[in-house]
Amino acid sequence: MKIILIFISAAVINNFVLTYFLGLCPFVGVSKRLSSAVSMGMAVTFVMTISACVTWLIYNLLLVPYHIEILEYVSFILVIASLVQLVEMFVRKISKPLYDALGIYLPLITTNCAILGLALFAVLRHYNFIESLVFGIGAGAGFTLALVIMAGIREELELANVPRYFKGAGITMIIAASLALAFMGFSGLISI
């Protein structure tokens, strides 16, 4: 039961992008096209899930037994950076157009605070291995959800009559804020 709650909490109620405002850079940068938003969401979900598992293993099997918890940031960044490199190689191999579409945002996952946040939250909340795994999948799903909603709206926006001074970044910020407000409606639904 707790696992389901963790998933729902990470995906919707405590959505990383729209509630914690983490990982806004790709949220604004890669939400112009629905197709690239889905791919970016997949890439981030993969990195989040694997890094949640690996960081749990490192934290509990290496850092805690040797009392070097102080090194959690260093080791977590190491994990995330390596995984992103792997994803980048993989995306480049299987789909060059996707690689081009994601552009600079793909290597930027490395410095995406949502992923480091995920690893640190999992430690802070004392999740066990399975819970960390589900937390990673849930957070990735939430990130993808936010990105897809945003991309859907922005694709429609191209046909909308946006006032001249709101065009581009302005209207994007307004929509992001409205979405965040909407997601705030879920807050307090469950506490985990």
């Binding site: 490192i58 290496l62 070097i68 260093v74 080791s75 390596s82 490199q85 190689m89 480049r92 191999k93």
Partner: protein, 279 residues
Amino acid sequence: MDLTALLVSMVSMGGLGALFSAGLSLANKRLQVVEDPRIREVTEALPGANCGACGYAGCAHYAEKLVSGEAELTACNVASSDAIEEIAGLLGIEPTITEPKVARIMCQGGLAEATRKAEYIGIQSCLAADLMVGGEKQCSYGCLGYGDCIDSCPFDALYLNDNGLPVVVEDRCTGCGKCVDACPRGVIELHPKSHRLFILCKNHDAPKEARRMCTKACIGCQICVRAVSDGQIIMDDNLAVIDYNLYGQEATLPTDRCPTDCLVVFENQAVMNEEVSPQ
């Protein structure tokens, strides 16, 4: 921190790093993408300014498109003719050398010439001033003089003179067009270097108004139109416009007959470069 902790930290972090790098190098072997070696060669031959004026994300992206044959060799304004020849050689195509373009400021209404309607105290940016009240000057077509074009130039090819007007340093200008995009009034135009005759005004107001606003405005008197044969200079809503296909590349023109001195011949580039800004 005692020595053991230090040692443990070093070994554990070093071990993790070694583990991950081994994994990555293995993955790199497996997932290697074979790339056309010409892409790198072309990238190296390009100027590397990454100004984006070609319409691609940067020089590397442009090189990729060049090699795949999707981009024109003429798209890069910054590349010298030697570089273009080299790239054409790499790609095995004929080099197409086009005439280099240069930015021209199509306004002479500086602080001394243009009359002012108010004092503008605000963000010192042309865009902001234009949105607010249209700047200090009466003329709603001319240069605002806050230097957005200067800030936008990646090559330091513009500077503001004492009269509050931007000046193009031709030797540095690559014709990338960033200043053209930055100007909210559309005062800056790109012209081939061979264009020597210009009507340096954009004002479409009625003659009386134009004269009141600026001592160097085109007042639509049509003297220049009558002085040349048909169609070489035409009138467009109180503003004289040169048809460069017919005219304007010769220097023998009736510039002295323009009552407001806005018909100008750039004699030679040395004159324009006389007052090059100190870096």
